[in-house]
Amino acid sequence: MSEKDITSNEQNNERESQNKKPVSHGRRDAIKALATVPVLGAMAYGVYRKRKQEMRNITSADMFHFNSEISPLTPLTPDGKTIRLGIIGSGIRGKQLMIALGFATPQYVEDLMQANKQNSADNRYRDFREQEDLKIVITAVCDIFDVHAEEATAAGANINREGLNSQYGATPKRYRHYRDLLATEDVDAVVIASPDHWHGQMALDAALAGKHVYLEKPMTWTVPETYALRSAVKESGIIFQLGHQNRQVEAYTRAREIVSKGLLGAVSLIETGTNRNDPNGAWVYPIHPDANPQTIDWQQFEGDPDRVKEYMDYMTSAGLAQYVGPDPRNKFSLERFFRWRCWWDYSTGLSGDLLTHEYDAMNQIMDLGIPTSASSSGGVYFFRDGRTVPDVLQTSFEFADKGLTMLYSATLASQFNRSRKIMGHDATMEVGNTLTVTIDPRSEQYRDKIDNGTIKPGEPFYHYVPGKSIDAVTSATELYFAERGLLYSYVDGKRYNTTYLHLREWLESIRSGKQPSCNIDRGFEEAITAHMGTRAYLEGRTIYWDAEKEEITRG
């Protein structure tokens, strides 16, 4: 606007005001002053319409109404006794478990401190330091690789979670054989994170020694030891927790409620799977430079003779000799020591490592129990590095008594994201860190609501985002953050990792004498289910479960 314009405008204006009579002045003023106020009315109307529409959506809150709020973390038992822990196996997973318990090497803590100094947004140091004290002391450590054992003793002594050159507590005693660790008086409970072929035997021996057990999954390597372990745990009365930390995922608790209220209708198909696409995800773990026959107790690595005999008996009787070895068991091999998951001689394959998590999550949500039959297919298709364990696996479990199939589909050579789906006659639920329920267009249960337009079938109808008390209307943004794992501060504004919560539940169960969530019965179901899938793959036939005799059969 030029100055000339303004001047001429002003002149117009003055002329205007001179011509007008003072009577209408006030009214004109009021109109000009309030000219934009009707805009507020328009917005109020718009907001009213929008709210009305949203209220219709809130019927999802009415239908998916839950009485029980998911309980926040209960405080630790006051004056609970200090539990003395022994760590058996402190490799990759064992180290993670110790960190979850609050014990890390000074070097690890130092690295976290440095990471925070470099990037102030990296709060792992603070989180680790602030993690609740679980009232435990690590008194004993056993690992058959010297480096891992030394790291574990250093972590166990680091009671104040300090970096390098600091004050540490008493160093836990290192045992070279786990049986010596189990024989000691100053261990109340053990955390077992050995290779699969040692799981059952170590847990069994621990139960016989009266030590409480936290055992990494899968529960067992051979079928016979599964029964023996169950009896030993039950007879000894120890507190046993299997390491399926999915039991602590808040969304699964809500998913369980949704299924048990029948909101999905009859469930006929469950789809689960694993997608990974890197060497580490395919068990090609790094080989430590200090590893050699002097620093590794190979003889102990080979396994328990009774268990190895069971394995060999099955493999030979079922005509599966091609899956054994190919290296002789007593031949020292760094590859086999660090990448043991790649060979049936020590491993339970995709079934034991990853299918078990998927199965246990579904067992947690739907009380599946043991399937009536299993069939599998797959092969070594991508990582042709001499492994005997497949990198692509499809297993379908029939639960004939429940009228449903659970499909497990895995590849270690594609990371494409597939959601877990529980498909029902009335609705399908996608289960992850969040839940999404989509109503089926042909649903009978929701027929009225589909007809009157309350429910749009085929569109996500209900979202559950953990950490939010409001179920129905969550914004796309919130959902997005939650699914990417950004909304981690669920409990009292603090971030927790599920492994920590799972260990915590086990320790509290030891103090209270209550059964933890993934106890020996759930473990038995997990182990048998995984073994059925494995045997179906190895034998290339459908494998059945005789529930009465509690026996795996070939039908």
Binding site: A33, A121, V473
Partner: protein, 168 residues
């Protein structure tokens, strides 16, 4: 001194078209702010936590620090919800226009700085367009600055009544 003299000091005189365009722009920006506020009022437990945690760029540590401190976060949420609503109202009805523009400019600067459209930066929250250095927040900030130089509330707005009556 007569009324028109006072007016001259406070008011730029516009043609009808200019005035309509400027008031419309003021109202549109007001609407944007008001609804952003109202929508948050109606969203139970709304929080800017996720948005702040997703910050990038030079000031990201500051925004994340706010998000991670429960007290600061509560204050930030309160200011967001009620600040947006209040500013929206002020701009639409033309009340305390200068405060309205100042407030909206502060909000827009903060929005821009917390999520600057930099090279090689990706946000979890997908944007609806493609931006490089300049985004819609910056454009709106420009519009607010221009509007503050061409005030309209003394012509169309509640300020017309308030300040006129005072000057009488």
């Amino acid at each position: 001194m007569n009324n028109s003299m006072i007016h001259k000091k406070r008011v730029i005189n516009y043609s009808k078209g200019q005035l309509i365009a400027l008031v419309s722009l003021r109202t549109l920006i007001g609407w944007y702010f008001l609804y952003e506020g109202v929508a948050k009022i109606f969203t139970p437990k709304w929080t800017a936590y996720g948005y702040l945690m997703d910050s990038q760029g030079l000031f990201a540590p500051l925004f994340k620090m706010i998000a991670e401190n429960p007290d600061l976060m509560a204050i930030a949420d309160f200011i967001n919800i009620w600040g947006l609503t209040l500013i929206g109202l002020l701009l639409i009805i033309g009340l305390f226009e200068k405060i309205g523009y100042l407030g909206s400019a502060i909000f827009l600067v903060l929005f821009y700085l917390s999520h600057p459209p930099l090279l090689h930066v990706e946000y979890l929250l997908p944007t609806e367009g493609s931006y490089l250095w300049v985004d819609k927040n910056l454009v709106m900030l420009g519009a607010v600055v221009v509007l503050s130089l061409f005030p309209t509330s003394m012509r169309i707005g509640v300020d017309r009544i308030i300040f006129k009556s005072k000057s009488r």
